[in-house]
Assembly symmetry: C2
Homo-oligomer: 384 residues x 2
Amino acid sequence: MKADDLYSRLKKTDEAILKRLREWAERILEAARTEKKVYMDVPVRTFSNVYFDEERRIIQMGDRVARREFLNVGHAKKFLQTSLVAATLKDLITEGITTSLRDVYYRIKHTIPGTTENTVDEQKESDKAIEDLETILGFVREQMHVFSKGGKGRLAGPIQIREIVPDPDGGPPRIVETDGENVGMGGWAIPPIAEPERVEIEKVEAEFVLVIEKDAVWTRFHEDRFWNKHNCIIVTGSGQPDRATRRLVHRLHYEFKLPVYVMTDADPWGWYIYSVYKQGSINLSYLSPALATPDSRFLGLTISDYYDFKFTKEIKLVLKDQDRKRLKEMRRYPWFKHKEWHREFDLMEKEGFKMEIEAGSSKYFRFITKEYTPAKLEAKAFLP
Amino acid sequence: MKADDLYSRLKKTDEAILKRLREWAERILEAARTEKKVYMDVPVRTFSNVYFDEERRIIQMGDRVARREFLNVGHAKKFLQTSLVAATLKDLITEGITTSLRDVYYRIKHTIPGTTENTVDEQKESDKAIEDLETILGFVREQMHVFSKGGKGRLAGPIQIREIVPDPDGGPPRIVETDGENVGMGGWAIPPIAEPERVEIEKVEAEFVLVIEKDAVWTRFHEDRFWNKHNCIIVTGSGQPDRATRRLVHRLHYEFKLPVYVMTDADPWGWYIYSVYKQGSINLSYLSPALATPDSRFLGLTISDYYDFKFTKEIKLVLKDQDRKRLKEMRRYPWFKHKEWHREFDLMEKEGFKMEIEAGSSKYFRFITKEYTPAKLEAKAFLP
């Protein structure tokens, strides 16, 4: 896409959001003028309204909504918070700037005149209001110019990326081209917002995406130019991935039909991170269609790997009570129902240990890139 | 520096380290052949051997050493650990690869033959051995090919950076050029190792360095192209900075004579982060000469700012017990002895609140980049 077209796409989304915001606000005003009850319907985002969509294989939000009435004392404050955030989103879009969740919190926090009460007391209140608006308006908050942190994902490999960075002072946007094979040891820093409106994946010559849980391990793959030898894109979310990293993996799969393989520690925490990339998360169930990549496969590590690759016992980490507890919860998740996974759960519980990716270095430092991962890829030894 | 020269510099450092390692090992072997006692002297790195160097204005390590004797049961294991790590460093350099602290731990962990004892049980043991070798050999571990995590710092502005990335398989190194004004919203990802042997700062046209504690706030400065309007380099360490970020700030100051200004939250934690950039840290006192930038000045936030910039009371965060405790400790640090700082400590304690940089958004989102920081820079209203 040409830079100009990219910029118009961003502007078009901005206008679409402003239009939706206006319609929504007018509907409420109209109700206030004509009816007794002013209300907004907000989809329920608690665990009780989350389900696993067997067909799409992602965690989804159910269709229960909660009605918030302006003249109901119990609802009025939330009603106010959502309205304040809506006005703030409008400002952000109009000014052409982005900001963080924390800044939005401070922006709308003030003492309600004539009272000692604050509009919001904690950030989670404004966060919830933003989530409300994501579901009400049908746009993700990144499209509405709000991110969480400064970004923590990294990427390298045969990929061409074009970023468009608008100038809040009205000048021309900066257009930044990145060649993923020509990045330093830090890789390409995945920006806080990775929506198509701002980040265009221009060209991909890779055959698959390898997602690596830990940034230190990713550095091993990057230094060894694994992306070149195996013609792939290597991504890390540095632990629990942020939304931008998940979004980018999702886009690489859907826009370029790339298979996605995920590598984590062999522990409940690591395996859960895999499922977040794959099926989405319970907290952000309504975003799964935009963030999840249900065709992802799990490359490793498994507890079986310990035996298959003849690791020595020193690298075992004793399973703790909290690991066993987490494992028990994970057994009940429908997205982990496959017998292959339950075999791993059983093995971990019975043998009482977990292991980290770095354990490969007990053999030699490049074991993970020279033997383990190539063997797994070659044998297509993936878990569902 | 030409790419070839850069590469020879890296190779020269490698050779110098190998030479030092060999000499050190031979001295120990020689002792084993000729004397009763085989030992190594290791500088003591506990708090008791740390002092504030008033002249250089950095936290330094004293000259006390501990002698480790091979035939002393209480010392033998540490002796062994240091030797194992030394051998591992030699391997890393010879193979031309880098790795993480965690990987080194797994690399040297094994059961001592004929016993049930492991060479190391926890990572902190191998970490300590690496710190020993840093002080014994006089090279930082990054020069010896070991990093901590995958890197978390970010940077943007009028700076040209050249990275050299060797090929572990013996091919030519990759040379990566970065123009700090032409980076995406994630900025340039500061790599895990930012030593001159791998990262050359080719050219700097900025007039100063602005270090911003939080990555989300850094994103505000980056989006607003603050680096262009104020001709500076903006850096974030994403909270407590890693060694590479501190090293780079240090290098920008010493190689290019750039003044360094630091911006953190107005709380004991943020102020301490400032002092880490400025004077070094207690834990890594022996590295202060390479990491600290004692000429750094503190731009903000201060508690006085609350009054000077007429913030409203909603943005105050109540001071907690742990904040008061930390404040008490900081009062005793000689590097915080200036009356300007004690005035802030007093004010914080008396008024009982702290505040975050994001509080600026309570006025308007760009307050921090359009008013606050320019006003501070203009008035040179810095704390020592």
